[in-house]
């Protein structure tokens, strides 16, 4: 029986079973979290049809585990853990299928190779320069306190926003800003020209200025 969207687990009713903890029904949990779960899978590159299947599977597991949900801190953590485990199982299955292999024509493969011989030299030079800059940056970061270093790494390597860094490190946004400000001062003198190419400022902050 379909319950309104393709991703609703089979067998559940809108009234649902009542949670043993609190007064929440399965239907309330589904209504609150279904979109978040679907976009959780979608952000990780899962095709839309599979996203719906995984969302349905997630809530089917939630439905079956309503009686044991009290062992979890929150409904959020329960739904999150279920969805993450399903996602990882899916990735594992994909890797298994890849190892099975499939036949490829060698002629087609060689014929379709791009002719980029002329571009290889500048690309190699750029790669060496980047490696050198990276080495300098790593050395500079090692002199920072662990908290400051993590702030810079999250900002530079993962391009996270201040707000997101604050969530990851469980600190306030003001602390993140203060850390990055101090780091700027330290790296400026140490890295010179290379520092000017580092982007420590938040995208939102840039937009405001």
């Amino acid at each position: 029986m379909n319950l309104g969207t393709d991703s609703t687990p089979t067998g559940a009713t809108p009234e649902g079973r009542r949670l043993s903890r609190g007064e929440l029904s399965f239907w309330e949990i589904y209504t609150a979290y279904s979109q978040a779960v679907q976009s959780f899978f979608s952000k990780k590159g899962i095709p839309p049809e599979e996203c719906k299947d995984l969302t349905q599977e997630t809530f089917l597991r939630v439905y079956k585990s309503m009686d044991t949900i009290r062992q979890h801190d929150t409904v959020s953590s329960f739904v999150f853990t279920t969805a993450t485990n399903l996602f990882r199982n899916k990735i594992r299955d994909r890797k298994t299928h890849k190892r099975d292999g499939h036949e490829v024509s060698l002629d087609d493969t060689f014929n379709n190779l791009p002719d980029d011989t002329g571009d290889r030299l500048p690309a190699a030079l750029g790669s060496i320069l980047r490696a050198e800059e990276l080495r300098m940056l790593r050395a500079a970061l090692q002199e920072l306190s662990p908290q400051m270093r993590r702030c810079v790494e999250l900002r530079l390597y993962q391009e996270l926003r201040y707000r997101e860094i604050a969530v990851i490190l469980d600190v306030s946004i003001e602390t993140v800003k203060a850390h990055l400000h101090h780091v700027k001062q330290q790296l400026k003198s140490r890295l010179g020209d290379y520092f000017n190419r580092l982007d420590l400022e938040d995208r939102d902050a840039r937009r405001r200025s």
């Binding site: 309104g4 009234e15 609190g22 309330e28 959020s76 953590s77 993590r150 390597y157 990851i168 490190l169």
Partner: protein
Amino acid sequence: MTPVIHSRSRHAEPEELVAYRAKRLGDDEVERLRDHLALCPECTELLLDLASFEEIEPRLGVTPVTPDREMVEDYAALMAVAEPRAANGEVETGEIETGMTDGEAVYLPLPWTRTILPWAVVALMAVVAIGSWVQTSRLRQTARESGQNFPIYAYGEPAVSRGEGAASQDVVLVIPLLPAIQPESFPTYELEIRDLQSQGKVVEGFTGLVPNNTSQLAVRLDRELLDYKRYRFDLYGRKDDGSREYLKLQPPRM
């Protein structure tokens, strides 16, 4: 430019991330996990996902049970089926309807005639009732404040006759006395006429002997007194010991 460095430590388990958010990890575990997160985009993304899930938690139990509003087309299709049925009285509004189209559910809000109108009618009736009660209370209060006398305003035209020997400008006012007062109880009477348009000021007073077996009292008044449009008669009986008692005047039986 964005240099890329991949963490070489193992990925965090979802339960570990939940424990980190719940501050249940030890200091060493927190340091190790943070070091990993700083260099692992996958685990960082997972932790941000968990944080976004947690933002939903406070809304649980508050959110009305409705179909997924993001599925606008599905919802519009449901409403297209539900509304005509509600209009025909086939389904109740204001409740979650199920089983209309292969198990879908839809929430139909109550029409204003079933939500606002009944309360408006009740409120109007309450206002009228309260207004009436206030008005009555004011009248009773006015009566109480007027010397504990029961006011008699107008129970028909007082009988007016021109008695023999009366001055041309005088009239005789006949006031019904029900029940009749007896001279054994009150040898003398006192009658006060109060002008109700001048805060009940006494405009005329009479004192006399109570006649035997009479059911009416006749007093001679100045003709001008009849110009007062509203006046009240207060009758008192005075005993031998000098005490005075208010005697309630009653309207004549028609």
